[in-house]
Amino acid sequence: MQSSRNRRPGELGFNLFLFGVSLFLFYSAYGISGFEALSAPGVVPMATTAVMFLSAGRILWDVLRRPASDTETLARDIIPLPIIVTIVMIALYAVLLRPLGFIPTSVLFLFVMIRYLSGHSLGFCLGTAAGTVALIYLIFRLIFSVLMPQGIVPEGEIIAWISSIF
């Protein structure tokens, strides 16, 4: 079934990567305890990585035999610009989460992403971003006491001030 399909852009590279990773993991699994004993900690990792290696080889063989697609391109069909931008934005979010804190990072992320994807007005994007973050903050931080990174926002003081009002 698979072999009747043309090879998609990047598919060969991805499967070569998986084949290489499987081989490396098998080697690492062997390094855990070798063939020391059937109950050794490396037995299950070795067995599973061997299965990975063999199946990755079988898949690679299948991919190699298929003709490359002439209707698809890597930039248009596999990793178009919105996907690259989104991945970069999530990575930036993760990097900024601790130094800036949950609230500003999330508002910034949502604002930029909604603006980039939808092209709505600045007010709409900011309102949606702020409203969504407020709701998430209410559920996670205030109801379920999940400690989100505070960063530059003095959340503790703000919560204490709100509590003192009531």
Binding site: S39, I83, I87, S106, F109
Partner: protein
């Protein structure tokens, strides 16, 4: 009379009734939000209810538990992001139904069958608790190992078009589950000198990355396509539809109850096993599995809700938790001066019947709250994707972070999200990866315990399997599952049905 009065105590006491209602309602939403787990909510409740009387404390926890297991299906159907691991199988056919504009119908079916599954599990708890716990306690490491092998064989059902890609994904999942310090020998496995890897890879980060981020990235291909208009004219499924799937629901409820009663397993494994069972036994489904088959919703949802009642069986009769939530509940009972186990059943049977009554009531509230508010809930899917996708991403990030308060988990989630996206693009199924991660520890620990108990002799292990009726029964099921996947078996079956 005593039994009846304890059974009905949560119904006649308005305070308890209200607490179960509030707990179930909150549980549905806790279960629906990825990153918020029932285990987390019940743990938090212990500190809140520390000074309460034991009955209201348990009533609230039971409500949250029952609602939470069901709630995981909501986001699985609407967004393809399971709110809880027990809803992973539900996403496989629930999300395709939402894409066809039938999210309301899917949630309606799931609610009704969850109620049926929950009812069967609680009934088993009430009627067969001592005998079922006796059965569960007979499980040796080799039996748990065989159970894990049975689970791994589900890869065939979750593989979609290519079995070999499913096998690769499943093996990758087991390898991911093995990352970190080995609990038996404290030896590092796949750690590569990175300290953060010693504690293993967060299962929730893998799940949210593979399902949430990968799905959001995939949807960016059609970001400007208008959202599918949802048909919400019929929410409550018609009786003929329920009746048609009742036999399957009863069978998968039994699977759920038994798996739930086994210590160390839970609703997630029960749901996946039930899905596989449905796929193997359903002849000519109206819609193929993976494309929106109703049987693909009935099986996992009856099983994971039945597993709730099942999980209480070893807890109440032996003092052994059936899953993570019942482990916390045992702690709560200890705090309130009670000692779950065989003596609790003898000395304070009223507690057992109170729990059964509370579970039954929570199950009824789950049906009530589950069937209301669906119209509002399905509107989420109709939001423009340009807004919905960034919100899903933020929820995914917060969910991954919230489990361990760790930014490293966010990086894992992103890594698995991007990797999962490419796997999806190139036709690799993601379900087997999660299956592998779930079963990795069960397989690894019990294989080693089983082989150690036979002095490292594989022959001894096989002799042990053959000489124990329970092990032999499980082994036969494993062999039958393997045989049923062979072309010869399929040809034979086609000939018989022709």
């Amino acid at each position: 009379m005593d039994i009846l009065s304890n059974l009905l105590m949560p119904v006649v006491d308005l305070k308890l009734l209200g607490l179960i209602a509030v707990g179930t309602f909150a549980g549905i939403y806790v279960g629906a939000i990825p990153g918020l787990s029932v285990t987390m909510a019940v743990s938090i409740l212990i500190s809140f209810t520390f000074s309460w009387d034991v009955y209201p404390a348990l009533a609230l926890m039971i409500g949250i538990y029952m609602g939470g297991v069901y709630g995981g299906s909501r986001t699985a159907i609407l967004l393809n992001i399971p709110g809880a691991p027990s809803a992973i199988a539900t996403a496989m056919d629930g999300f395709p139904l939402a894409q066809q504009g039938r999210a309301g119908e899917a949630i309606g079916i799931v609610t009704v069958v969850s109620f049926i599954g929950g009812f069967i599990g609680i009934l088993a708890l009430a009627l067969f608790a001592p005998s079922l716990s006796d059965f569960a306690i007979r499980f040796q490491p080799r039996d748990f190992m065989l159970l894990a092998v049975m689970g791994i064989l589900l890869v065939g059902s979750l593989s979609g078009e290519s079995l070999v890609k499913g096998v690769f994904s499943g093996a990758l999942g087991i390898a991911i589950g093995a990352v970190g310090m080995d609990p038996l020998t404290v030896q590092d496995r796949f750690v590569f000198g990175i300290d953060e890897l010693r504690g293993g890879v967060s299962f929730v980060a893998v799940m949210i990355g593979m399902f949430g981020v990968a799905e959001a990235l995939s949807q960016l291909h059609s970001v400007n396509t208008p959202a599918v208009k949802q048909k919400i004219s019929r929410i409550i499924p018609a009786w003929p539809m329920v009746r048609k799937h009742l036999p399957l629901g009863l069978q998968t409820s039994t699977i759920g109850t038994i798996v739930g009663a086994l210590p160390g397993t839970g609703g997630d494994i029960a749901a996946l096993m039930a899905y596989d069972y449905a796929k193997r036994t359903t002849r000519n489904p109206e819609t193929p599995f993976g494309k929106g088959a109703v049987e693909g919703l009935v099986a996992p949802e009856t099983a994971n809700n039945a597993a709730v009642g099942g999980a209480f069986i070893p807890m109440m009769t032996l003092g052994i938790p059936g899953d993570a939530v019942t482990a916390i509940m045992i702690g709560a009972l200890f705090i309130h001066g009670l000692n779950p186990g065989p003596m609790l059943m003898v000395e304070q049977p009223h507690m057992f019947w109170f729990i059964v009554g509370s579970l039954m009531l929570a199950n009824c509230f789950m049906l009530l709250f589950g069937l209301t508010g669906i119209k509002l809930f399905v509107k989420i899917v109709e939001l423009p994707r340009t807004v919905l996708i960034p919100v899903i991403l933020v929820l995914s990030i917060v969910g991954a972070y919230a489990v361990n308060n760790s930014v490293t988990d966010v990086y894992w989630m992103l890594g698995f999200g991007v990797f999962g996206y490419f796997m999806k693009e190139y036709g690799y199924p993601l379900g087997p990866i999660i299956l592998g991660v779930i079963l990795s520890r069960l397989l690894d620990d019990n294989w080693r315990r089983a082989i150690i108990s036979e002095q490292e002799s594989f022959g001894g292990l096989m002799r042990g399997i053959v000489s124990s009726p329970l092990s032999l029964c499980l082994f036969t099921v494993v062999v039958l599952i393997i045989l049923s996947s062979t072309p010869a078996w399929k040809m034979l079956r086609r000939k018989r049905t022709a």
